[in-house]
């Protein structure tokens, strides 16, 4: 991975985070304001990304949708990693029967494609932003849990944990000051990589109409709305799609960059 690629990725992400925090600074308009007379305008100076069927400015909508998309991505990853940490620690540190139980449970989850698992969850609890976020978190958890479990099993047998025991450190101290940081440290990169994936998945759910619902300004939902006009008005799907790709590629590149950086150190 070259340095410039990482820098570009970081710059793109910085822009997206800024857009999420202060959308009004970049796009002062109202993302929901309707201008029926201006519908289906191609990209121009007035509307850099064009307008949709109700004449809403797509650029404004994308910028204002950044917050929702990033929040869904981050929260879903946080839910997935949090759940995985509990499962991974239980099976990595617990007695053998608990490890057996947790591992079999994870294997059952693994047998289903992640997206199917998310769909199942939404079928039960109904569509919406919150449920789709939780659904994506649930769907990503088994993968993280398996990695955490194996990391925990490696680290708990590491000679430095035994050395800490010989120095008279309590089990809590060994868990919190030595085991967890070493497990989580190796997870950090995976989490960065996972955020991009979560954004894509959350957008997919919105696209299927199971997450954020139009007219909400969310990338996946906008993509879905533009689907009908794909043949005639390409900008309606192209720009939301572009931003999904930018966010996913940005986090992935940055994650890889960090991964290589830590390997060199």
């Amino acid at each position: 991975m070259s340095r410039p690629a990482v820098i570009v990725a970081a710059a793109v992400l910085a822009f997206l985070v800024f857009a999420a925090l202060f959308p009004g600074v970049i796009a002062p308009g109202d993302p929901l304001a309707i201008h029926p007379l201006d519908s289906f305008r191609a990209p121009s100076f007035a509307h850099p990304f064009g307008t949709d069927e109700s004449g809403r400015d797509i650029f404004t909508r994308i910028i204002h949708g950044t917050g929702a998309s990033l929040t869904i991505g981050l929260s879903a990853t946080a839910i997935g990693v949090g759940l995985a940490l509990i499962l991974g620690l239980l099976s990595g540190l617990g007695p053998r029967w608990l490890d057996f139980g947790t591992t079999r449970f994870l294997e059952v989850l693994f047998a289903f494609p992640g997206l199917l698992l998310a769909l199942l969850f939404i079928v039960i609890y109904g569509p919406g932003v919150v449920t789709s976020t939780i659904a994506v978190g649930l769907a990503t958890a088994p993968g993280y849990a398996r990695i955490i479990r194996s990391q925990v099993r490696v680290v708990r047998r590491a000679p430095y944990l035994e050395a800490a025991l010989v120095l008279g450190r309590s089990p809590a101290h060994r868990l919190v000051r030595h085991l967890l940081p070493n497990v989580v440290g190796s997870l950090f990169v995976l989490v960065t990589l996972g955020i991009g994936q979560s954004i894509v998945w959350a957008s997919s759910l919105s696209y299927l109409g199971l997450g954020a619902v139009p007219p909400a300004a969310e990338w996946g939902a906008m993509l879905s709305a533009g689907r009908t006009y794909l043949g005639s008005f390409w900008w309606m799907t192209f720009f939301p799609g572009l931003f999904i790709v930018l966010a996913a590629v940005g986090t992935t590149l940055l994650g890889r960059g960090i991964q290589q950086g830590t390997r060199l150190r």
């Binding site: 430095y160 025991l165 120095l167 440290g185």
Partner: protein
């Protein structure tokens, strides 16, 4: 006649010269040794003969028999390797293909270089294994490397190297990481090959190992030859200070408290308890089973304040299990360990925790005993504060100085330090809680002899200045004799012999002890 002739050899990697000005000759039936610390360029020098350095090689002369190796084509070199020059590389434990029977490995070189049929090759491979001293060669040939002991793997590797009767055998640290008696066996094997007319280029960091075989020594330091000459002359009258240091670093037959480096000994501190008859650690009737295997059986001893008790034995003798029982990392199935006259092994772990600072440990692999995220300074601050703080403090600097580490290393991670420095950090961490006892499990086994000497001298200093008692576990008789007051010889989980070190060495009562003592490599 001269088989190998090297004049003014230089090897460089991408503009950096790592070896220069190396001269030596090897005759048929002669053993020449390249001696020096890790990084001195000895392995690269040997690899230059095989065209395997991976760098650029220059020399005024680099000749093997009638081949000029400087201008030899890759295919010519390939024909030389294996057929004319056998190579036993460093690390016998990893040099064999783990998925193939060792016999097949030997058959390979026969298949490539000879016209023997499959059955003949198989028979020949078994012959070669037997010749290399592998018992039950026919059965062993069918086994994979992980089913063989370290010594047998090294023998198998030598068998494959001599399969085509090469005129020259290059052996790079052939006995490192092997038990003493196994090492002696490998050296015997090399000796018989030499006497049969094979020229040998032997590479080692340990002068004692090479002095038995080599008639000519080439001492290297930092990529240069600092001294070269007949072995007897070099050992008896070393001219270069570096050679003198290497010779002085060999602990074998050096009495206790004699210095191995030229650093003066530390003065005993007045405020610490001195050596006495007080027993700080005792074990009685220790027994530990793993499944049906009895690892330790009926082991008992007493360690006096300020004294060193050596435990010597080969792999599988149960000495490490004893260390783990003493550190209460294992629970004995029978028997008891008492610390400072009070119960220890019978306590529960929470009861034991507050007394743990009284006993510390250093290990063979110091690096893996450090949390990889922490710097040297953080590791030591953690140890000094009982785990409460990782912030740098003047005490950390003082602690680092007391083990001979520069304070500037505090911000480094141990991974970036040399093996000797890593072991110093481990020692500093172990003495930080002011323990009475240190359990040292093979603390110098993976270090070069010269670095080993520094670490042994440091341990000796600390014992005197802090009144520490050591339980010193090693397979190396030279080291254990130099370090211990009393000695326990272990075999198959039992104590074979025990007593004051000097009397065990001068009047060994058991044949096994005698064999061990005889097999320890000596200078000259």
């Amino acid at each position: 006649m001269t088989l190998v002739s090297v004049r003014d050899l230089a090897v460089s990697f991408g503009g950096t010269t790592v070896v220069s000005g190396v001269d030596f000759d090897i005759e048929a039936g002669q053993c020449v040794a390249l001696v020096g610390e890790s990084g001195s360029g000895k392995s690269v020098t040997a690899r230059a003969l095989l065209g395997l350095t991976g760098g650029s090689v220059n020399a005024a002369e680099l000749r093997f028999h009638d081949t000029d190796l400087r201008s030899a084509s890759p295919s010519r070199l390939r024909r030389l390797r294996g057929r004319e020059i056998g190579f036993v590389s460093q690390g016998a434990l990893v040099a064999l293909d783990p998925l193939r029977p060792v016999g097949r490995e030997i058959e390979d070189s026969l298949r490539i270089h000879t016209r023997l049929g499959a059955a003949q090759r198989r028979a020949r491979a078994i012959e070669l294994l037997a010749e290399a001293g592998v018992p039950q060669a026919a059965e062993r040939a069918a086994q994979r490397p992980d089913e063989l002991s370290g010594g047998l793997r090294q023998r198998a590797l030598i068998a494959s190297a001599i399969a085509l009767r090469p005129r020259l055998l290059i052996a790079d640290e052939p006995t490192t990481a092997l038990d003493t008696t196994v090492q002696a066996g490998i050296l015997d094997l090399l000796e018989s090959l030499r006497d049969a007319g094979t020229a040998i280029l032997l590479i080692s960091h340990d002068l004692a190992v090479v002095s038995r075989l080599a008639s000519h020594l080439v001492v290297m330091s930092e990529g240069r030859v600092v001294e070269s000459g007949p072995a007897e002359r070099v050992l008896a009258e070393p001219r270069h200070p570096y050679t003198r240091r290497l010779i002085a670093a060999v602990p074998t037959d050096r009495p206790r408290f004699e210095r191995l480096t030229d650093r003066p000994a530390a003065a005993p501190a007045a405020d610490r308890p001195q050596a006495s008859r007080d027993v700080v650690l005792s074990a009685t009737g220790l027994r530990r089973e793993f499944g049906s295997r009895v690892a330790v059986d009926g082991v008992g001893f007493a360690l006096g304040r300020g004294k060193t008790l050596g435990i010597v034995g080969e792999s599988g003798s149960g000495k490490t299990t004893v260390a783990r029982l003493v550190l209460a990392l294992e629970r004995p199935d029978a028997g008891e360990v008492r610390l400072l006259g009070r119960p220890w092994s019978t306590l529960t772990e929470p009861q034991r925790r507050e007394r743990r600072p009284g006993i510390g440990a250093i290990y063979q692999d110091a690096l893996s005993s450090f949390d990889p995220r922490l710097t040297v300074g953080q590791i030591l601050a953690d140890a000094l504060s009982g785990g409460r703080s990782r912030r740098a403090s003047p005490e950390v600097v003082a602690l680092m100085e007391s083990v001979g580490l520069q304070a500037s290393l505090a911000s480094r991670r141990p991974r970036l330090l040399s093996g000797g420095q890593q072991q110093r950090v481990a020692i500093a961490r172990a003495i930080a809680p002011r323990p009475h006892i240190l359990v040292c499990d093979e603390p110098v086994s993976s270090l070069d002899v010269s670095v080993q000497a520094q670490v042994l001298d440091l341990l000796d200093d600390l014992q005197r200045s802090l009144g520490l008692s050591y339980l010193f576990i090693t397979h190396d008789l030279g080291v254990v004799r130099h370090m211990s007051d009393d000695l326990l010889v272990m075999r198959h989980g039992r104590v074979l012999e025990a007593g004051p070190t000097e009397s065990v060495f001068s009047r060994p009562r058991h044949d096994y002890t005698r064999a061990l003592i005889d097999s320890a490599p000596r200078l000259g």
